[in-house]
Symmetry: C2
Subunit: 213 residues, 2 copies
């Protein structure tokens, strides 16, 4: 599918080269989760990977370029989130379970990739189209199916609400909660209680009514 891995000056990377490249990406990932984005320097990444800055610049135009690489990889991964909604039922107790699973899965994905997602979110907010696209890919993996679910369930209730808007709002909420869990605890919401609360919101949004006991 994707073409061969290439260096900035057009050479095709071989076995050893790809290993080095990958090690640089891994170290960058590590750096991102331990230092502020603004302070991540090429030289630190290179040192951690046991190589030199010049080597880094062989494979990536700059830090941002390498970050995009990691982000794209993550976006591929996010396709798996579809399964949290696709083909699931939203009826009765099963529906609430679906909601819980969705919240659980989404938060887990975000936590696993929080460092890179922070940077993607920043880039998107700053208007960078590449980061925006990646962020949408991640969100859409859930927003798409969820919007369908809302549409399917609102036939019974009223049609004044835009399914895309509801699904979007719910995903935004999940993303925000995932990125800023600490805000909720500072509001007195215990970590343990966060998921049920979010699951309730999601169920309410999709089913349009309170869940059964």
């Amino acid at each position: 599918m994707t073409g061969q891995v290439r260096t900035v000056d057009g050479r095709v990377a071989g076995r050893r080269g790809q290993e080095t490249r990958q090690k640089l990406l891994d170290c960058l990932r590590e750096m991102l989760s331990t230092s502020p984005y603004r302070d991540v320097k090429v030289i630190d990444v290179a040192r951690m990977a046991g190589t030199s800055p010049a080597t880094f610049y062989q494979y990536f135009p700059d830090v941002e370029g390498a970050v995009l690489e990691i982000a794209e990889e993550m976006a591929e991964d996010s396709a798996g989130l579809k399964e949290l909604v696709d083909g699931k039922s939203w009826a009765g107790k099963t529906g609430y379970a679906t909601s819980e699973d969705l919240v659980d899965g989404f938060l887990a994905f975000w936590r696993k990739n929080d460092a890179i997602l922070r940077v993607v979110t920043l880039g998107a907010a700053e208007g960078d189209k590449r980061f925006f696209k990646i962020r949408m890919k991640v969100l859409n993996s859930v927003a798409g199916p969820l919007s369908e679910a809302v549409k399917a369930n609102q036939g019974k209730t009223d049609k004044s609400v835009d399914p895309a808007a509801v699904a979007g709002a719910l995903i935004s909420l999940l993303a925000s909660a995932a990125e800023h869990q600490k805000a909720f605890t500072s509001w007195g919401v215990k970590v343990k209680d966060l998921k049920p609360n979010l699951a309730l919101q999601v169920y309410l949004g999709v089913a349009g009514k309170k869940p059964p006991k």
Copy 2:
């Protein structure tokens, strides 16, 4: 209230010094809204202010320090957001109007300060306590009163929901929507339709029922 303005090396700043300091802050604000945070350099800010980098370091320890200054100023400003909820009614049509005003006011505030809020949000997500505190101050200016409103209104309905959690979720949603409006348009939600949709969500969360026609 606040002590005198001081330089990094302890001198008290006089009239001229404060002017220079303010000009630097203004230029930094400007830079933040035109370039990615990562690329904002001291030298650029100084140049724009018609002064030298050394002068910048007289008043601020580094870029982050100056950003915190701007952010704190904005946080003071955010106190005014309280009025959007405090003492407002959530009954019937008036209630829905309250909801609309809240969404309107919050989005306007965010748009006005979007550049600095992006950085604050990033800092908070990265675990920086100073940025986290500032972000909470802004959010709490609305979340506090809103939580009260939820509590006051849920007496009539059921008590299974934590008011703080609901208020927090709503504020998170508003913040997320404000920061990533483009995401919603990419979901097919027109700018014109965004506010009504958010207002509906807020009303639903607070009043626990659909708004009257």
